[in-house]
């Protein structure tokens, strides 16, 4: 049976056999870096194409269908165009911060890749405070966005960046609470422990109503955190031209664009890990034969399937809901999501203490 675990162990064995341990470790680092960069590039191409296709079908259109079979190479062509374009820097911009900002945003995405379990025993860094690490690092992206808005020397950029700051800071709370409900149920911050706890059923099924509420809150909060419609005030095209990346062009713009999609992938991967059991196959009670068939599907396929399902859900939101106003946005967070998530946390604590979950 195909498994990524077998590949990694054989590569590691081979490296340690051929080289001394320090060398082997260094080479492993290089391999991991190359793999994550290529994952980023492929994800960027695939997700942008997927977004355009989903958007088109929801709006009763066809979407890109000219470049390659079914428009498959449209995003490749777009990327080539962006690479060849001149990267303009505005005259009065703060050059250093302006150039740094896209890389800060990208870097946050790369850091967040570390604790994600892509398949069984296929994880870059199984850190014991995984969930804490994710929630703390993901909030760093606001620095990159503020940097971009400030350095552009453009009032639209600054407005967009400020809105984005307010939005990310407030929605992080309810995202954190939603994550905490699963931590309460599991009793561990380590992602591999959280996945292991879902061996006999995913938390969204095992955790009754609180887990379901937490999942809804999580999806809403991360949609806001990744600055996507209906919470795309930071880059509201119709009012702020493009928000914080108004002044960016060429490859710097592409990095922002890529970072947005990488962030979507990462929050969906974390959502899939917390609520849908990561790479755990779907097991139903005592149906032995059914469970065996489910075990036959590789764990990486399970993980990717769940993640892409969540990504599709977020895209579905984007192309259905109208954009919120700034005051509505903050009302939604502070008057609705936060009280509900606090109450939900209390509920889940009671359930966990009394052992009412399966």
């Amino acid at each position: 049976m195909f498994s990524l675990e077998g590949i990694t162990t054989s590569v590691q064995d081979w490296l340690f056999m051929k080289f001394n341990p320090t060398m082997a470790l260094a080479m492993e680092c290089v391999i991991v870096i190359l793999l994550s960069i290529s994952l980023f590039a492929i994800l960027g191409l695939v997700l942008v194409l997927m977004e355009r296709k989903v958007a088109a079908h929801i709006q009763i259109r066809l979407g890109p269908n000219r470049v390659g079979p079914g428009g498959m190479f449209q995003t490749v062509a777009d990327t080539l165009k962006l690479i060849m374009k001149e990267g303009l820097v505005p005259d009065m911009a703060d050059k250093f911060l302006f150039n740094l900002a896209p890389f800060v945003v990208m870097m946050v995405g790369m850091l967040l890749l570390a604790p994600i379990a892509f398949a069984k025993n296929f994880q870059i860094w199984d850190i014991n405070i995984g969930v804490l690490y994710i929630s703390s690092v993901s909030s760093l992206s606001v620095i990159g966005i503020l940097m971009a808005g400030w350095a552009s020397n453009n009032k639209y950029s600054l407005l967009g960046a400020m809105r984005s700051g307010a939005q990310i800071v407030s929605y992080e709370l309810s995202a954190g609470f939603a994550v905490l409900t699963i931590v309460v149920l599991t009793g561990s911050l380590q992602l591999s422990d959280i996945i292991k706890a879902q061996e006999n059923g995913w938390w969204i099924f095992k955790g009754h109503i609180p887990a379901l509420i937490a999942f809804v809150l999580y999806i809403i909060a991360v949609t806001a955190e990744t600055n996507r419609a209906p919470f795309d005030l930071a880059e509201a095209e119709s009012e702020l031209t493009a928000g914080f990346h108004t002044e960016y062009s060429g490859m710097r713009f592409a990095l922002f664009f890529l970072a947005e999609y990488i962030n979507i992938f990462i929050v969906c991967a974390i959502g899939a890990t917390l609520f849908f059991g990561g790479w755990m196959p779907l097991h139903i009670g005592h149906w032995e034969s059914f469970n065996h068939i489910m075990d036959y599907i590789p764990s990486s396929v399970w993980f990717m399937g769940k993640t892409f399902f969540l990504i599709f859900l977020i895209m579905w939101f984007r192309w259905t809901f109208p954009r919120l106003r700034v005051d509505q946005l903050l009302n939604l967070e502070w008057k609705y999501l936060l009280p509900i998530s606090l109450f939900n946390l209390l509920l889940v604590a009671i359930i966990a203490i009394l052992g009412w979950h399966f």
Partner: protein
Amino acid sequence: MFLKEYLSDVAKGVSSLLKGMRKTGYYFTHPKEIITEQYPDNRATLLMSERFKGEVVMPHDANNEHACTGCTACELACPNGTIKVVTKFEVSPEGKKKKAIDALVYRLELCTMCNLCIVACPSDAIKMAPNFEHSVFDRTKLTKILNKPGSKIREGIE
């Protein structure tokens, strides 16, 4: 009381969002609904809507007869001088003189497709056609004479 209102607010919001998602989800799962016309590819089968206003034409029947009496109502109705009616006098076999059109000159490059000439025509001699591929290399080709050469007015139209 407050809590009840609050919860009903939340429920109402969620249900209305779900309603919207059901609609878009329906469109996503039903590719039959797609309305995109892949224009240059489907030129042979392209169906324009009935009321599309592409250009003014004068329908002729099988005997090369039209319904235009040369009353110049369309010329008068046209806001920007697109139509020019050139009239002549035809002598009928009984020796009576009758007004008829020599040429109905239509200048497509001036036309705004406002439909006023069609509304003004008392005998429904002109109508809007749904063709839209009007680009030519020579501007003079846009000045068209709508009545076909040798055409006559249909019997019984005054």
